[in-house]
Symmetry: C2
Subunit: 456 residues, 2 copies
């Protein structure tokens, strides 16, 4: 892609007490963040003060690790339903985007279409949907075996067609709402979907007006071949786990090539690598904050969590922490998190870490970890951004308190000083701020859409 | 039941622009109430000012009437997802209960358990669930034919067992959250559900702490035999459509008898008949408000809506408005709204209305319609309440604006003056205000629960 001269986009990845597994143990962090609204309201407002494009909530439909040691030591079993938390956050914020993860494997498109449309109306155009196929959890949804990877993607493709078709049920000007004459709607602007496919039969129409943004912004993080293909067809915001500029550039080139197959351009997509950021008053201060969190980590339950998340055929928690990791000759084929498995294998081959070193690398879910002063962070971001390796970043905050405050108070002003980041929101909707076009309604595509949200 | 000497409970049934089909045409009513948050926020705060026990949102998973005349004239096609609107309302209120309708036919128990648990945590114990089996909409959920009535109830029974079992996944004190020692939870207090039934296989545990209230308050409105039986086993709040004190007493006696089969007492349940209320400065003023709304009604689309809702084998909209209604010798068997069909048949037999008279009776979904001054309304409520025919009322506000204001400003003070209504909320949770016990966790039932919410 062309080297960037504009400004970068920033997402805030939020989960539990923070992206670091031990963050709940920090004195300043509210241990009830997954059942008490106040900590999330505070963080959302702080991120909006920092002009972040969006809050991005991840999700899961199961408690991942059930052995007693993990239950005792790892902060799990308590999680917000993201599409319940985000409507509440919409009320205490005005401009920041609200992106929810939701899976296509255990949901029904009609139900999810309603939830996301209502969130987009409630927030006046700030909703986003992170489409995932796999979150585990089949055991909670009448399935002994998790749907096969390929089948999940097939279902996801069809789910996307149905949900966007439902959002197009009503044209933008279908609701006449003429009180004097009692005319509520123009029936010619209502369109039945009448979808009949392998996975879904959905007649429509949706019982909701079209979302403010046409569709909520579509995000995705799948990096497998199927995942990239789905992203190329449907995603507008792509989260990656690129560790190096070279990896990021290769990913970018690959996605750009795939986009063309669907008549889309690179400019229709924003690519945001995830990065876990530790900001300190100086580089040593940042490192000390990072080390302090690492020291709070329980190795056994964390290693079990990693092994659950990415199966590389080794029971990591049975090894000595200072033992080097030797990959088995045959690595098991995985049905979940395919691309994340590859990332870990690559990392082990490249860096030959001990168990302890891998553990520390993996606390941000395998994302890049960055620590330093605000200048150091801004240098890194500027380097990636100017090189064209990223349109911005999805920041994985280690904790939900101080790490957010330090980023907003120290890194954001430094990015603004360099002209790398906005000094005010561009507009009221998430699409406005990301510079993404408002999608046409498929049923009125022949007409010219004069919607003010369209930029290109 | 014993005659009442306490105070009555009040629910506020909210839907669209109000329960009257023409309410959107009133000048003061915001025509965007189903996609703009402000009108609902305003009404919720007004109802809390009036110390209402709860807001109660209904739901539907389809646009009910698709013929062009109905689409053009009847305010449909736009509806909040109630479990998206209620989290937002939780933020702008402090004490009022938040009850959402959600169906057991097209939802998965794990998903709904999460949504309701998150709402209960978010609102600090104010969530309620109105369990319904039937809202139509099979055509949007891979089903050409709506599930048979009996099958729906069978699924609902199992759904209830699963969802409450999931809410019991974690005992109330399972989360130790000891930061210093890194102990997150006591694994002995996590319980797998391992449910395998005809409709659901769900392992658990839920990825949420137990709701603040143990379970959200369970509400139901089914009045058929199956509906009453399910309510007797599971409901804590029962909405009825009783038209007369005699009907209400018969319903009460029937439910009381059924409760005994499940080891429950009448005091475990609150029965609230629905009533549509028009408050005026005087009786003629109230009647004038009622007539003004009736005059805004479009007869054809409203009659189609009624026929869709309750099929009595007559195409009402083809008849002259002043023609008396003659029931056919054979009335079709219905698969939805069985009890509502019977209510209409009874009404026609009792009152022998013209089409126009039935139309006017049915604008509140067949509920009792009451108009008068604040004194008149309070007289009626007092009469029913003292007679033991109701524990309170579910008020169907004709519109979402003036009718709420007049009730809160005029009727509530009159009820308080008579000692019939609270002058402050009894406690922070919906259970506290309804005087309902906090349910025990089935897995820790052997231990004594000292929860402060328990009253009896």
């Amino acid at each position: 892609m062309a080297h960037h001269s504009g400004t970068l986009k920033l997402g805030a990845f939020l989960s539990g007490h923070g992206s670091h597994n031990a963050s709940w143990r920090l004195p300043e962090v509210d241990e009830d963040a997954s059942r008490s609204f106040a900590p999330y309201a505070r963080v959302a407002q702080k991120l909006e003060e920092g002009l972040f494009d969006a809050i991005f909530l991840n999700d899961s439909v199961a408690v991942p690790e059930l052995d007693p040691k993990s239950l005792a030591r790892s902060a799990q079993g308590m999680r917000w339903d993201p599409l319940t938390l985000l409507p509440a956050l919409a009320v205490v914020t005005r401009r920041i985007g609200l992106i929810s993860t939701a899976n296509t494997t255990y949901n029904e498109p009609y139900t999810l279409a309603r939830r996301l449309a209502s969130l987009d109306h409630l927030s006046e155009g700030r909703a986003g949907w992170n489409l995932v196929t796999s979150l585990g959890g089949g055991e909670n949804f009448n399935r002994d075996d998790h749907l096969l990877h390929a089948k999940r993607y097939e279902r996801a493709e069809e789910f996307f067609d149905v949900i966007t078709g439902l959002w197009d049920s009503w044209e933008d000007d279908a609701f006449v709402q003429d009180k004097a004459n009692g005319i509520w709607s123009n029936p010619d602007k209502m369109h039945l979907l009448n979808h009949k496919g392998a996975h879904f039969s959905v007649q429509g129409p949706l019982n909701s007006a079209r979302p403010v943004q046409g569709y909520p912004v579509i995000a995705q993080a799948g990096s497998s071949n199927d995942g990239r293909e789905l992203a190329a067809r449907t995603a507008e915001l792509i989260f990656t786990a690129a560790q190096t500029i070279e990896e990021a550039e290769a990913f970018d080139a690959d996605v750009t090539a795939r986009l063309a197959r669907y008549g889309r351009k690179r400019a229709d997509v924003r690519i945001l690598p995830g990065v876990s950021v530790y900001v300190g008053d100086s580089a040593p201060d940042a490192r000390a904050r990072y080390e302090a969190l690492q020291d709070l980590l329980d190795p056994i339950s964390t290693l079990k969590g990693i092994s659950h998340f990415v199966n590389i055929g080794i029971d990591l928690w049975t090894l000595d922490l200072d033992e080097p990791i030797v990959l088995p000759s045959v690595i098991p084929v995985t049905n979940t998190h395919k691309s994340r498995q590859q990332l870990v294998i690559d990392l082990i081959r490249r860096e030959q870490p001990t168990v302890r070193q891998l553990l520390r690398k993996m606390v941000a879910g395998g994302h890049r970890i960055l620590f330093g002063s605000a200048q150091d962070i801004a240098d890194d971001f500027e380097h990636w951004f100017r090189a064209g390796a990223a349109d911005g970043f999805n920041i994985m905050f280690p904790d939900l308190h101080g790490s957010v405050d330090r980023f907003v108070e120290q890194v954001i002003p430094e990015l603004q000083r360099r002209g790398l980041f906005r000094t005010d929101y561009e507009g009221p909707t998430l699409r406005d701020n990301l510079g993404l076009a408002r999608p046409r309604n498929r049923f009125s595509a022949a007409r010219i859409d004069h919607s003010p949200a369209i930029r290109r």
